[in-house]
């Protein structure tokens, strides 16, 4: 056959000519975590030069501890955003879950490990509520979670009667705040737990059929359905997985605040979304990596800590985060226009 010379195969013979900008676009399209990685490295270097304290092991380990709760929540948020959804309730769900753990343990004398399991179950239940509303009643995730955000907030405040509960220092639920020393670097069990969450969910997304179906559903629900994927189930599973991360994040939160505080969750909703977006996951679904969200959460904390150490007015930290979010979304839009 004369396939090689036929016009049909002509296009493969012409080497594609891409401008440097197009090549960058392709590179970022294939590696969604690349841009946050570059931003993180540059930010760490800049702040390391600006303030000598920044790169000290103590500063860095504190920085990582400060982002552990947002980091853990961002895992669940990423899974939902990958389905082209969003969870505005995730922070309050976490607070609710932590209240259940702490109050069962402290007020009702339920043993720590059991209280933890019930608290995690409460976290999963919040995910099931969101997931069922999204998949069975076909409401947009934005609206569903805007509603459940208010509901979870009210339930948390009513349940706690507005009160903070402090646990004794040796409580099982505060284990996540305990430090293990590796040389001169101290790291909490909570940080390790967060990393385990990233490893576990990252593996499932990359190496299981469930993960593949999640990406497919997020990119093109109709195509996924025609390929035989039951997309409703996939969507529901995303909210359930988010519920699990809510439970784990709640435990890490206990260790951070030494108990449970019904007013602690307000910022975490938006902070988790910020981490996901800065981490390069597309809000349109189907593209992104959990590891990117870890980088995103780290970037926000690096800016906050770095600017604080440099003695800059804290309001500039907020400003910097805002600029990063808009830049990240702009870059995503540009990458999405990638052409062959």
């Amino acid at each position: 056959m004369s396939e090689q010379t036929a016009p049909a195969s002509a296009e493969e013979l012409v080497p594609s000519r891409h401008s440097p900008a197009q090549r960058v676009q392709h590179l970022l399209h294939r590696n969604p975590a690349l841009s946050p990685l570059i931003v993180l490295v540059v930010a760490v270097l800049v702040f390391g030069v600006v303030s000598e304290n920044f790169l000290r092991p103590q500063s860095l380990s504190l920085l990582v501890q400060q982002m552990a709760v947002v980091g853990a929540l961002a895992v669940g948020q990423t899974v939902i955003v990958l389905t082209a959804g969003i969870d505005l309730s995730i922070g309050m769900a976490m607070v609710l879950s932590s209240l259940v753990m702490v109050k069962l343990n402290f007020d009702h004398g339920v043993p720590g490990p059991l209280a933890l399991l019930i608290g995690i179950a409460a976290g999963i239940l919040t995910g099931v509520v969101n997931g069922v509303l999204v998949t069975r009643i076909n409401l947009p995730p934005f609206i569903v979670t805007l509603g459940t955000f208010s509901i979870f907030t009210a339930v948390a405040l009513l349940y706690a009667a507005g009160q903070t509960t402090a646990l004794p220092d040796d409580s099982f639920l505060l284990w996540t705040g305990e430090t293990i020393r590796i040389g001169s670097v101290g790291i909490t069990w909570g940080v390790l737990l967060m990393l385990v969450l990233y490893a576990g969910v990252g593996f499932a997304l990359r190496n299981t059929a469930w993960g593949r179906h999640l990406y497919a559903t997020g990119d093109d629900r109709d195509a996924a359905e025609l390929a035989g994927i039951r997309t409703k189930r996939v969507l529901l599973s995303a909210y359930v997985v988010a519920g699990v991360t809510v439970g784990v994040a709640a435990w890490i939160l206990c260790g951070r605040v030494g108990g449970a505080d019904p007013n602690a969750g307000l910022n975490y909703n938006l902070m988790s979304i910020t981490a996901v977006v800065i981490g390069g996951t597309s809000l349109f679904g189907g593209r992104g990596l959990v590891i990117g969200s870890l980088l995103g959460a780290l970037i926000v904390q690096v800016f906050n800590s770095g600017l604080a150490l440099a003695g800059v007015d804290p309001n500039y930290q907020v400003l910097a985060t805002g600029i990063l979010v808009i830049l990240a979304v702009a870059v995503d839009q540009w990458i999405r226009r990638v052409k062959a």
Binding site: A6, A8, E12, H29, R212, Y215, A216, A223, A227, G286
Partner: protein, 259 residues
């Protein structure tokens, strides 16, 4: 003549009050390309989706390999060896070629972890068996492919499963001349390999060239089912636009009834 691989008898299908398919008889033979032609809205896609188990026929009989069967879900169709390449290309842009070809039917080791090597290998051999040489790497993202290459991947996906009947709904509608050529060659090769192929197309020159039989639908009724060799361009155009041509086709009275 060989027996049909897939045979439909008197299939009716309505959407609410609108009857789209009227007593449709349809046969697909192994080793042949059966062209399904008809004007827009004639019911071609509906017929394909009914065969694929996406829609359920209101009445009618299905036989596969001469045995009566029912097809109530895409899975039941797939289990029989019936695969469809849909008009609106069901590929995910964020996945690569291998991931798309195995989407929904991934190979795993131990039932959990994806077996990427096996999938990649099978994707490569399937593409090679179709003499596809236009894709550089099976790990290329589908978003970076041309229309013809995407169509090729969709067809390769359909034949990956030892399928016996492949239905292609307007596979060349969005393609240029060279890419249409590629796809038509591929369609012919599928039939030459023994599959029963159904091709929906609006290009009658292509249809006459590549197909063995032609089934013409007119307003949801079969106007004619004839060997391509015994037909010609003006006859098919008449069958499509008027439902009859000379002494073959739907009686004028019946045609008027379904209009």
């Amino acid at each position: 003549m060989t027996d049909p691989l897939l045979e439909l008898r008197s299939v009716n299908k309505s959407f609410g009050p609108v009857q789209v398919l009227h007593d449709v008889d349809f046969r697909v033979y192994p080793g042949q390309v059966t062209a399904l032609v008809g004007d827009n809205g004639a019911g071609k896609s509906t017929l394909v989706k009914t065969i694929a188990g996406i829609y359920r026929a209101d009445s009618g009989d299905f036989a596969f390999d001469g045995k009566p069967v029912t097809i109530h879900s895409p899975k039941e169709a797939a289990d029989l060896g019936i695969e469809v390449v849909y008009q609106d290309l069901a590929l995910c842009d964020n996945l690569d070629i291998v991931q798309n070809m195995f989407l929904g039917r991934e190979a795993t080791s131990g039932g959990v972890v994806l077996d990427e090597l096996t999938m990649e290998e099978r994707a490569r051999t399937t593409l090679a068996s179709l003499s596809v040489r236009t894709v550089k790497s099976v790990r290329q993202s589908v978003a970076s492919l041309s229309g013809g290459q995407r169509q090729t991947v969709a067809i390769a996906k359909a034949v990956l499963w030892n399928s016996r009947v492949v239905l292609l709904d307007e596979p060349t509608a969005a393609l240029g001349v060279a890419q249409t050529r590629q796809v038509l060659d591929l369609v012919r090769r599928l039939a030459d390999a023994g599959l029963g192929v159904v091709l929906i197309s609006h290009n009658m020159v292509d249809v006459l060239e590549v197909s063995d039989r032609i089934t013409a639908l007119y307003l949801g009724r079969v106007a004619a089912d004839l060997p391509a060799k015994e037909s010609n361009l003006s006859q098919i155009v008449e069958l499509i636009t008027a439902g009859r041509s000379g002494d073959i086709g739907i009686p004028a009275a019946t045609a008027a009834e379904s209009a």
